[in-house]
């Protein structure tokens, strides 16, 4: 049995026919070194078969991707969608919440505490901003589609005031937002940030471990 005949067994009929014709012409032109050249031809034909198989498999992969595209985007983790940072400089606190494109935060759902007590000044500032949005469910609401920040008034150092200066402060930030691109809403989320005096852009420690249950006891208690 020649390598040529082996080839016929190894490829699909169309492929074999095309390969056979090509090999037949080749064989007529030169019988010298036929075995070597046939082996090379066999590799070439098999490579073409593999390429075809890869094209078909790629089609399947593309199809799977379209399946994902047909459904809404996968929701981002809340700490990626709305990253929170805080600074504590000159005894003044500032809070910043970024908003990823295609996401929004409800202005009136911010709740801020500093060292366990309501931080009214910061909360009022965060709730006061935002742009109006006519929500089909909630009517006219104010939302943030871009980063939002608020800062408390700095406390000016005076004689004898050093004792009242804090070495650090703890902030609790509660916020709630949605993703238009994913068609979902995140539950109210609480983040706790401990910021040392002079520190800037500190992230919450609990960013990866939201305590949903404890938060909801207040937010949606039954």
């Amino acid at each position: 049995m020649t390598p040529y005949k082996n080839l016929r067994l190894g490829v699909a009929s169309d492929e074999a026919t095309a390969g056979n014709l090509w090999l037949t012409r080749y064989a007529v032109r030169s019988m010298t070194g036929q075995r070597l050249r046939s082996a090379v031809a066999a590799v070439a034909l098999r490579a073409r078969g593999v390429v075809r198989l890869l094209i078909v498999l790629a089609g399947g992969v593309v199809g799977s991707s379209f399946a994902g595209a047909a459904t809404p985007a996968e929701p981002l983790p809340v700490d990626v969608a709305f990253p929170v940072t805080a600074s504590f400089v000159n005894q003044a606190v500032s809070i910043r919440v970024d908003v990823q494109p295609g996401h929004y935060l409800y202005a009136d759902r911010f709740e801020i505490k500093q060292d366990g007590a309501a931080a009214n000044e910061l909360q009022r500032k965060l709730r006061a901003g935002g742009k109006p949005k006519q929500d089909p469910n909630f009517g006219l609401v104010k939302v943030y589609t871009q980063a939002v920040s608020a800062q408390s008034k700095p406390k000016l150092a005076t004689k004898g005031d050093a004792a009242s200066s804090k070495a650090q402060t703890q902030l609790e930030v509660v916020f709630q937002g949605c993703s238009e691109v994913a068609g979902i809403c995140y539950p109210p989320t609480k983040r706790v940030i401990t910021v040392a005096s002079g520190a800037k852009d500190v992230k919450p420690l609990d960013a990866e471990a939201p305590a949903l249950k404890s938060l909801f006891k207040k937010q949606v208690s039954q």
Binding site: S64, A67, G68, T71, Q176, I184, C185, Y186, F216
Partner: protein, 171 residues
């Protein structure tokens, strides 16, 4: 490669695309009930009338379990479709159950306003942690599971479930 071969190859590619799209979605959404889903189907929740209702009440139906809340706009938007589907496919064994992770008062108000025609139950917020292992890793709403009469997960959906998708289950 002649024209016929090219055409055949193109058709095979298109076929693979379609198979990939359908198969990929099937693979991502289906599966046997296990773990937290098993706990969910064995759990009981408080209904709006104050009675405790086990989800096993509806075993043997095509059960659509929809986690939602009144503070969630997309949840409210999909619910009129659910009301319509409950009416259309109840005779074919469809049963919606809404699980509200919310306070009683706004849930009662919204359910009445919309004319919800299927049971609405109230869930402890801890269920938002539990849904992470059911195909909703970010604990977002709405989240819907469709369970077959044989206790198999037919569909997991984070985000809106369309009427056409419910319709397709009974096609």
């Amino acid at each position: 490669m002649n024209r016929r071969q090219t055409l055949m190859l193109a058709l095979a590619g298109v076929g693979a695309c379609v198979a990939g799209a359908l198969g990929g979605n099937w693979w991502l959404t289906r599966g046997a009930v296990k773990g937290e889903e098993g706990k969910l189907l064995g759990a009981s929740f408080e209904a709006l009338d104050g009675k405790t209702m086990p989800l096993s009440t509806w075993q043997g139906k095509t059960l659509v379990i929809n986690f939602w809340a009144t503070w969630c706009g997309p949840c409210r938007e999909e619910m009129p479709d659910f009301v319509k589907a409950q009416t259309a496919f109840a005779a074919k064994g469809l049963q919606f159950v809404g699980i509200a992770v919310d306070r009683r008062a706004p849930v009662e108000r919204f359910a009445k306003e919309l004319g919800v025609n299927y049971p609405v139950l109230l869930a402890d917020p801890a269920w938002l942690d539990a849904v992470k292992t059911m195909g909703n890793p970010q604990s977002v709403l709405p989240f819907t599971l469709v369970i077959s009469p044989k206790n198999e997960v037919m569909l997991r959906r984070v985000g809106r479930l369309k009427y056409s998708e419910i319709e397709a289950i009974f096609a």
